[in-house]
């Protein structure tokens, strides 16, 4: 066990992790706990969005609520800045830093750095800094804000702030952990002293016989013989990708097949596909089924019973937890090339259909549902297991331990 103390700071909690970012963070914290004697995680977050959090997490005070509502897609920046600018948050962070006295601080995504840098300077603390990136944030934020229709000058202002902080953090951290090979190269080209790749992975898929039986009965009752599953949060790259690569016209799906949307993405489509007298909206539900916010157990069961997994991801940085999940599930996968970012070596596994146009993607879904899948060899199974978190984070944890 390494005797150094490591503090990880993010802008969301990780208790009962649901989303991809939370799961990555939770996996990193667990990995550090296996190597470091003292590990502390703190999430600075907006309370209305997370029902589960730990006592050590810091909710944003109520007076910041209007600001969050006004610009929800920059709430992470607000959380980061609050470390220095909000008296309540600053006081709690100061107490934590002074009490814990971390040897290493891992800044998750760039946002905590917006306030942390000034606080550390004020406290005259100089721990080793690790920048753990989930995406190249400034370009990722621009994509998100453009997709929600924010006015250009505002977007430019936010992006400028993030870019400055991200490049500063890259150049001044002792280690950069990147999610994809492309991101790693970006940071190396922008002044990173050391960079290591830790792509997204997965915990082993867990479920119960009861949950599996529930979904088998459900689909049998609905007379659904073939399912193509897409799991995702209501995060713009998810629904943008689905709309682009699959669309709302579902006549291509066989009569007894369904696209099953699980997670926050289900809520997005439930709220979006409501236009009266629109034939696409009226018939969308003939071939699409929603599973809103499934538990981990339920999700595991869906992955077990599905006949194919679709990954219509066309944008967004980082590597895709959904891709890791799909590979681990050992089901036919229909994906864009973009979805396999940082999983390039795994494209050789059997039952993977890559398609980068809507026509090819839809045709691939039908083929994947109608073609009996090939069984993986032992070698292929071993390769697939490299998507587990343990394997993905090993090198990064090793590098951090050397700091």
């Amino acid at each position: 066990m390494i005797r150094k103390k490591i503090l990880i700071i993010n802008t969301f909690p990780i208790k009962n992790a649901q989303g991809g970012g939370q799961k990555r963070q939770a996996a990193l914290v667990e990995a550090y706990k296996r190597s470091f004697a003292q590990v502390q995680f703190v999430g600075i977050f907006f309370k209305d969005w997370y029902k589960d959090y730990d006592p050590t997490d810091i909710p944003l005070p109520a007076h910041l609520t209007p600001e969050v509502h006004e610009s929800p897609h920059t709430a992470d920046m607000l959380s980061g800045r609050a470390i220095f600018t909000d008296p309540t948050v600053k006081q709690k962070m100061t107490r934590l830093l002074c009490t814990f006295q971390p040897d290493i601080i891992e800044v998750e995504q760039v946002f905590p750095y917006l306030g942390l840098k000034q606080l550390l300077e004020e406290l005259d603390m100089h721990p080793a800094i690790v920048y753990s990136s989930h995406n190249v944030e400034f370009s990722h934020k621009r994509e998100i804000l453009e997709s929600v229709g924010m006015e250009k000058t505002r977007i430019d202002s936010f992006v400028e702030e993030i870019e400055a902080a991200e490049l500063d953090l890259t150049a001044n951290s002792d280690l950069v952990i990147a999610c994809t090979q492309a991101d790693k190269e970006f940071y190396e080209n922008h002044g990173a002293r050391r960079a290591v790749l830790a792509r997204n992975g997965m915990a082993p898929i867990a479920t119960t016989a009861t949950a599996v039986e529930h979904w088998k009965k459900h689909f049998a009752k609905e007379h659904v013989n073939k399912k193509a599953l897409f799991v995702g949060a209501a995060h713009p790259p998810n629904w943008v990708g689905l709309r682009q690569m699959v669309g709302l016209k579902v006549g291509f799906m066989p009569f007894d097949a369904r696209i099953v949307l699980a997670g926050g993405i289900a809520d997005h489509f439930r709220d979006a596909i409501t236009e009266e007298y629109n034939p696409e909206h009226a018939t969308f539900w003939q071939r699409v089924e929603l599973v809103s916010r499934p538990s981990d157990e339920s999700l595991g069961a869906l992955l077990h019973v599905t006949d194919a997994i679709i990954l219509p991801i066309t944008e967004g940085g980082g590597s895709n937890l959904k891709t890791a999940e799909a590979i681990l599930a050992d089901k036919p996968i229909v994906a864009t090339t973009h979805a396999f970012r940082s999983f390039e070596s795994l494209k050789q596994l059997p039952n993977i259909y890559l398609a980068d146009t809507p026509e090819a993607f839809r045709a691939a879904i039908v083929t994947a549902l109608q073609t009996p899948p090939k069984k993986r060899t032992d070698e292929e199974q071993k390769l697939a297991q490299t998507v587990l978190w343990e394997s993905c984070l090993k090198e990064a944890v090793n590098e951090v331990s050397k700091l």
């Binding site: 007379h223 016209k249 579902v250 006549g251 007894d256 034939p279």
Partner: protein, 449 residues
């Protein structure tokens, strides 16, 4: 294994004296399947209660239809209505009993709101009824003769499958399990393409049913090339791989009743040769509005118009226009609305009208147009959708949205010479036969099977 053709007779199960256009298509083709012996024809109906398909005896249906006394062949005020239809008609019956003076005092917005609320309620009730039915569906009793469609069989549906939202999906599951072919006649796509012509509650079940029909059918029949194009476009829009589509021509219905030349008028107000006839359901899509406005314009200009005789029951979204027509001092005395009539009366009206009008905005075919031509009568109809096809080059075509065009077309035939000249051309029209339709349907089945 024997190849059978199973013909859907669900529409004929609850029959109440007068056949609708769709029922005529189903029945007259079914008769020919029995007579021809070209196919091993069997008949079935869908049970919404048990969600099963049961075999039915065509002879029993034939007897009910062929031997109904003439006085009972009046629609929709038929005496022998099923309870379901009586319940459906009850609100209208109540409204009819309210004094006109009372009705006049109710503001138009309130009446509109009440109508909208009623239709919305009916739609919601139907949907919840179907949802409850799905959950509480009883098991079919053993004595119900459930059909087993064989893998070499063809199932032919020419009726209103959209009236039973579970029918096509249930058939689809059977098809996947048993492997038979499915051929479906799509009469039209109007509730999907022109939802504004109907009240709330029809667009969704209709569109969903058509979606599954297109997805599941091995072949689709349509009544016009215009409807075939609509189906192709619908499939393309929703990325459904379109099955083969064949257009078949409906037979023209010329009533075979012995009616003497001196048969008196059924209504003293209707004089031989001095009226314009419009036959068909009175609903907004049939566009009585434009004829009314043309009559109004004629009144304004002092043009004497023939009496306008309207035959048909009241349908969607037409209450306000009817009220105006019946109360407008400029035209009300020149309009006679007969509602449903017997075949005998209908024959008299066709034989003795001056000409007919049918300015519908959208049709799947337009039977009243070809009927009119089959009777040798000039017909003014629309230049949209399938109506030019129904006119076969012998009808006068006008824009259904241009009052002046409509008026001028009608005024032209107030002149005897012009009318007779046109009638000479219309006399060249060759009526289509139900035998012809059956032949095409039969050939299509053989292609698909």
């Amino acid at each position: 294994m024997t190849k059978r053709v199973w013909i859907d007779m669900t529409d004929m199960r609850i029959w109440s004296g007068h056949m609708t256009g769709i029922q005529r298509v189903v029945y007259l083709n079914a008769k020919r399947f029995v007579a021809s012996k070209e196919h091993d024809a069997r008949f079935f109906a869908y049970s919404d209660t048990y969600d099963v398909f049961e075999e039915v005896d065509f002879a029993e249906i034939e007897q009910r239809i062929e031997y109904v006394p003439e006085e009972e062949q009046v629609a929709p005020e038929a005496r022998s209505r099923s309870l379901k239809q009586l319940v459906k008609a009850a609100p209208r019956a109540v409204v009819r009993r309210v004094s006109p003076r009372v009705k006049e005092r109710i503001p138009a917005e309130i009446k509109q709101g009440m109508k909208g609320g009623y239709r919305l309620g009916v739609g919601l009730l139907k949907r919840s009824k179907h949802a409850v039915k799905r959950r509480l569906r009883p098991v079919a009793p053993p004595q119900l003769a459930q059909v087993t469609f064989g893998p070499e069989d063809t199932v032919l549906i020419m009726g209103k499958s959209w009236d039973f939202p579970a029918m096509i999906p249930t058939l689809g599951r059977l098809k996947q399990a048993q492997g038979f072919k499915l051929i479906h006649l799509v009469h039209d796509m109007i509730p999907t393409l022109q939802p504004h012509c109907f009240g709330p509650g029809l667009f969704e079940p209709y569109t969903k049913t058509l979606f599954e029909v297109c997805a599941l059918s091995d072949g689709i029949l349509t009544q016009s090339k215009a409807t075939a194009t609509d189906v192709e476009r619908f499939c393309k829009l929703l990325l459904i791989p379109a099955p083969p589509i064949k257009t078949v021509r409906l037979g023209d219905e010329v009533l075979d009743i012995d009616l003497p030349a001196d048969e008196p008028s059924p209504d003293a107000r209707i004089k031989q040769g001095e009226f314009v006839l419009q036959v068909g359901t009175i609903e907004s899509r049939k566009n009585h509005q434009i004829v009314y406005l043309a009559y109004r314009e004629a009144a304004l200009r002092g043009i004497q118009m023939p009496t306008w005789v309207i035959v048909g029951s009241q349908g969607w979204l037409v209450g306000d226009v009817l009220w105006q027509m019946m109360h407008d001092p400029a035209v009300k005395d020149n309009i006679i609305i007969l509602g449903g009539v017997s075949d005998r009366t209908k024959l008299w009206l066709f034989r003795n009208c001056r000409f007919t009008v049918y300015p519908s905005t959208y049709e799947g075919f337009g039977m009243p147009v070809s009927e009119s031509l089959a009777y040798g009568k000039v017909c003014i109809t629309s230049k949209t959708s399938s109506l030019p096809e129904a006119g076969s080059g012998f009808a006068d075509l006008v824009s259904p949205y241009n009052t002046e065009e409509m008026l001028q077309a009608m005024v032209r035939y107030t002149d005897d010479a012009a009318l007779h000249a046109r009638e000479k051309e219309v006399a060249k029209y060759k009526p289509a036969s139900w035998d012809g339709m059956f032949k095409d349907v039969s050939a299509f089945i053989k292609t698909i099977a």
